[in-house]
C-alpha cells in the first residue's frame, strides 16, 4: 500500500486526514476549502480506516465502529427489558414445563415469548453473543482510537502549514510588532505561568497543557473492563456467596455452603424509651419505635466436615454481637442482621385435665420444632402423639396435611392412655383449642398455659472476594471521567511567517476559556489582537 505524500514532503500512511508533519489537509477538496478543520484524533489515520482488505481487517473494522457498539448496547438493553416482562424459566412459580406454562398463563403473547427464547434470555446464545461482541467492541474501539491519537500527539511539531493555522476554530493574524523577539519571550513567559508546556523553534512556538485529559475516556474504559472482570470473578467457586439463615434463640445452625455453624445466643429488639425522644416534638405518643436489632452470635467451624451428614464437631472461631450494618466477620465470611421473627411460639405448655371432675392430671410441654412421640404424665398415664401437622390444612380430598414445614398453625392428634382409657382416647389439638373424636364421651381435656416464645433472627450470609476488584474498577473509571471532564487539552500556536504572525488555538472543550487565556496573554504583552472564533458548524461566533 502506498503512502500519501504531503506538499511539505512528509509521507503519511493511508487514511491520514491532516499531514502528520505540517497539519495541512491531504485531501484536495478539504485543502481548497476555508472551513475550520476537523481535528478529531488529530487527523491521524485511524487503524480501522487505514486498511480494509483481509477478513481480519473487516472484523476489526466492524468492532471499531462506535455506531455499531451503540446499536448493540441498545439491542441488549431492549432485550433485557423484554426479558423482565414475564418471569424467567427458573422462576416459574408452578412445577410446569416452560413449553406449557407461558402459553397457559399469558396466552398468545406468552407463546411468542417462549418461542423467541425470552424465557431463558440471559443464557440464550444470541444474548450471550451480543455481550461478547460488546466486550470486544469496547476494547477494539479504544485501541483503534487511542494508539493513533497518542502517536500523533507525541510526534507533533511546532511549525505547521499556514493552511492548518488559518483554519483553526480560534485564530488571529497580526502583523509583526516591534521588538517581536522580546515580545515573544514575554508571551512565552506568560504562557508558562499559566502552566503551559511551551516549545519554541525560532520565531514560532507551541504551547500545550492538559494533554492527559485526552486519555480520560480510555482510562474510563479500562476501569469498566476491570469492573467487568470483578463481576465475572463472582462466578469462580468460593469467590461469592449470597445466602440466608434463620436461627432460633439458642439454636446452632449450619451456614449454607460453608463449613461453619452459627449459634444465636439471643436475639433482641430494643425500643426507644420516652426519654430517648426529644421533648415537645410531638413524639410522646409514639410507641414501639425500634432502636436496634441485635443477635448475639457465635460462629463455629465444623472440623469434621469431610462427609456431609456426619455428626459435626464444632470449634468456636468467632463471637460477635451483630447489629444492623455491623456484621460478624470471619475471614471473608460476613453475617448481617437482616430479618426477625420475634416472639414466635416455640413450645406449647399443656395441662391434661379430667373434664368430668376438673382434676388436673399433669403438665407436659410440646416442642413445636421437635415434638416427642410420647409424653409421660404420671405412672399410669401417657400421651402418645400420633400425628403432627406444623402448618395445618386440608387437602382437596379433605385429608389433614401441612402447608409448610414451619409451625405457623400447628395441629396434633394425641392419644391418652390411662387406666380409664386403656385403648386410648384420641383428640385433635390445635392452637388454643381441642376437638375430641366425634361421637365419643371424652374423659380428658387440655388446658393451655402461656406458650414458650422464642425469637428467630434472620442472618444474611455474604462472602464477596470480588469487591476490592469492583471498587478498584469503579475508582479507575471515575478517575478517567474526572480527567476527561474537568481538564481540557489546550494548544496555542504562534508562528511567524515574514511580516505576519499567525495565532491559532485549539481545545477539546471550553472554547470560551481558551479564548480568554489567549486574549489575556496578548494583552499582558501589550500586543493588540482580534481573535476570530468559529463554531463547530464552521459559522463565525461573535
Amino acid at each position: 500500500m502506498n503512502n500519501v505524500k504531503c506538499e511539505c514532503g512528509h509521507a503519511n500512511p493511508v487514511g491520514t486526514v491532516l499531514c502528520e508533519a505540517c497539519g495541512n489537509p491531504l485531501l484536495e477538496e478539504i485543502k481548497q476549502g476555508d472551513s475550520p478543520l476537523d481535528m478529531r484524533y488529530e487527523g491521524a489515520a485511524r487503524r480501522s480506516q487505514t486498511y480494509n482488505k483481509s477478513i481480519i481487517d473487516k472484523v476489526w473494522n466492524f468492532f471499531s465502529s462506535v455506531k455499531i457498539a451503540v446499536y448493540m448496547i441498545v439491542i441488549v438493553l431492549v432485550a433485557s427489558i423484554v426479558g423482565t416482562i414475564f418471569p424467567q424459566e427458573v422462576y416459574i412459580p408452578v412445577p410446569k414445563p416452560a413449553s406449557i406454562f407461558y402459553e397457559e398463563t399469558y396466552g398468545f403473547i406468552g407463546k411468542i415469548y417462549y418461542l423467541l427464547g425470552f424465557h431463558n434470555l440471559f443464557s440464550s446464545w444470541w444474548y450471550v453473543l451480543l455481550l461478547l461482541m460488546i466486550g470486544i467492541s469496547l476494547v477494539v474501539c479504544s485501541l483503534d482510537r487511542m494508539i493513533p491519537l497518542y502517536k500523533a500527539l507525541k510526534k507533533q511539531k511546532v511549525k505547521h502549514s499556514i493552511n492548518f493555522l488559518t483554519r483553526q476554530r480560534l485564530k488571529a493574524e497580526v502583523s509583526v510588532p516591534a521588538e517581536w523577539g522580546s515580545k515573544l519571550d514575554q508571551l512565552q513567559g506568560f504562557l508558562k505561568k499559566r502552566r503551559y508546556d511551551v516549545r519554541r523553534e525560532g520565531d514560532s512556538l507551541l504551547a500545550e497543557k492538559g494533554r492527559f485529559s485526552r486519555w480520560g475516556p480510555y482510562i474510563n474504559h479500562i476501569g469498566l473492563i476491570i469492573f467487568l472482570i470483578g463481576a465475572l470473578m463472582r462466578l469462580v467457586p468460593g469467590y461469592y456467596l449470597d445466602q440466608y439463615v434463620w436461627v432460633k434463640d439458642g439454636e446452632t445452625k449450619k451456614v449454607p455452603e460453608t463449613p461453619y455453624y452459627v449459634k444465636s445466643e439471643g436475639f433482641t429488639i430494643d425500643f426507644y424509651e420516652k426519654e430517648d425522644l426529644p421533648e415537645g416534638a410531638g413524639l410522646d405518643n409514639l410507641q414501639g419505635v425500634i432502636k436496634q436489632y441485635q443477635t448475639k452470635a457465635v460462629l463455629y467451624e465444623n472440623v469434621n466436615a469431610g462427609l456431609p451428614g456426619s455428626e459435626p464437631k464444632l470449634q468456636e472461631v468467632a463471637r460477635h454481637d451483630i447489629i444492623v450494618n455491623h456484621p460478624l466477620k470471619y475471614n471473608d465470611l460476613q453475617l448481617f442482621q437482616s430479618g426477625q421473627r420475634p416472639k414466635a411460639i416455640a413450645a406449647l405448655n399443656m395441662t391434661l385435665v379430667n373434664e368430668k371432675t376438673g382434676d388436673k392430671i399433669g403438665k407436659f410441654k410440646i416442642d413445636l420444632y421437635n415434638p416427642q412421640s410420647e409424653y409421660k404424665i404420671n405412672d399410669t398415664t401417657t400421651i402418645k402423639m400420633l400425628e403432627y401437622y406444623p402448618d395445618f390444612e386440608f387437602t382437596k380430598d379433605k385429608k389433614p396435611t401441612t402447608k409448610s414445614p414451619n409451625p405457623d398453625n400447628p395441629a396434633f392428634v394425641l392419644n391418652v392412655i390411662s387406666p380409664q382409657t386403656p385403648n386410648g382416647e384420641k383428640a385433635w389439638l390445635f392452637l388454643g383449642s381441642y376437638l375430641p373424636a366425634p361421637g365419643t364421651e371424652n374423659i380428658f381435656g387440655y388446658e393451655f398455659s402461656m406458650p414458650d416464645l422464642t425469637n428467630i433472627t434472620g442472618l444474611m450470609v455474604r462472602k464477596d472476594k470480588s469487591l476490592p476488584v469492583i471498587y478498584f474498577g469503579c475508582f479507575i473509571s471515575m478517575l478517567g471521567l474526572v480527567m476527561g471532564f474537568y481538564w481540557q487539552h489546550r494548544r496555542i500556536w504562534i508562528q511567524t511567517e515574514r511580516s505576519l504572525v499567525y495565532v491559532a488555538g485549539h481545545t477539546n472543550k471550553n472554547w470560551f476559556g481558551l479564548k480568554n487565556e489567549v486574549l489575556d496573554v496578548f494583552k499582558k504583552a501589550s500586543i493588540p489582537v482580534s481573535l476570530v472564533e468559529h463554531g463547530k458548524d464552521g459559522k463565525k461566533v461573535d
Partner: protein, 177 residues
C-alpha cells in the same frame, strides 16, 4: 508491515474473544449444578427414621438407588408416594432400592405420614437440611436414579412421576445379573 498488522489484529481479537468466551461460558452456559447426570453422586451419611441406623450412600455399591427428596407439605411428593412404594416392592429383590430423604421434618410428622401412605422403603431424616443443600435441591420432589457404581443416571426435578417414568428410569440402573 502488512503481515505483522494482520497477525497483531488476529492476536488481539483472538485473546479478547477467548477470554470473554470463557468468562461468559462460565457465567451463563456451564451447568454448575452440584449433582449432574453421568457423574458420581456426592457421598453423604444420614440416619434412618425407623431404627436410627446410619445410611451412607457410598456403602450401597452394587445396588441401584432411587434417591427421592420430599416433604409432607409438598403435594406432588404425596401423590407420587404410592408409585414409589410399588416400584420399591417390585425391584427391591432385583437390586434397586427406593430411599426417601425427608427434608427437615420431625419424627412424629414423618412417622404418621409413613403409616398413612404405607411406606416400607427406608426414610432418611435430613434434619439440618445439609444433604438438601449439598444436592442443591430446588423444587421438590427431586429424584436421583443412581446405578450400582454410584453414578447418577437420571435426575427428575418436580413431580409427581408416573409409575411408568419411575420404572423406565429404574431399568437404567438395574445391576447386571
Amino acid at each position: 508491515m502488512n503481515r505483522s498488522r494482520t497477525w497483531m489484529r488476529l492476536i488481539i481479537l483472538g485473546v479478547i474473544f477467548v477470554g470473554i468466551s470463557v468468562a461468559l461460558y462460565n457465567a451463563f452456559i456451564k451447568d454448575t449444578a452440584a449433582v449432574q447426570a453421568n457423574e458420581l453422586a456426592p457421598d453423604f451419611i444420614l440416619k434412618t427414621l425407623e431404627d436410627n441406623q446410619e445410611f451412607q450412600l457410598s456403602k450401597q455399591a452394587g445396588k441401584g438407588i432411587v434417591l427421592n427428596f420430599w416433604g409432607t407439605w409438598c403435594a406432588p411428593c404425596r401423590e407420587e408416594m404410592p408409585a414409589l412404594e410399588k416400584m420399591h416392592q417390585e425391584f427391591k429383590d432385583k437390586g434397586v432400592e427406593v430411599i426417601g430423604v425427608n427434608i427437615g421434618e420431625s419424627d412424629v410428622t414423618v412417622e404418621s405420614f409413613r403409616d398413612t401412605y404405607h411406606i416400607s422403603f427406608p426414610i432418611l431424616m435430613d434434619r439440618k437440611r445439609e444433604i438438601t443443600q449439598l444436592y442443591e435441591i430446588g423444587p421438590i420432589p427431586t429424584t436421583y436414579f443412581i446405578d450400582s457404581d454410584g453414578v447418577v443416571k437420571k435426575i427428575v426435578i418436580g413431580g409427581p412421576m408416573a409409575e411408568k417414568t419411575i420404572k423406565e428410569n429404574i431399568t437404567q440402573i438395574l445391576p447386571q445379573q
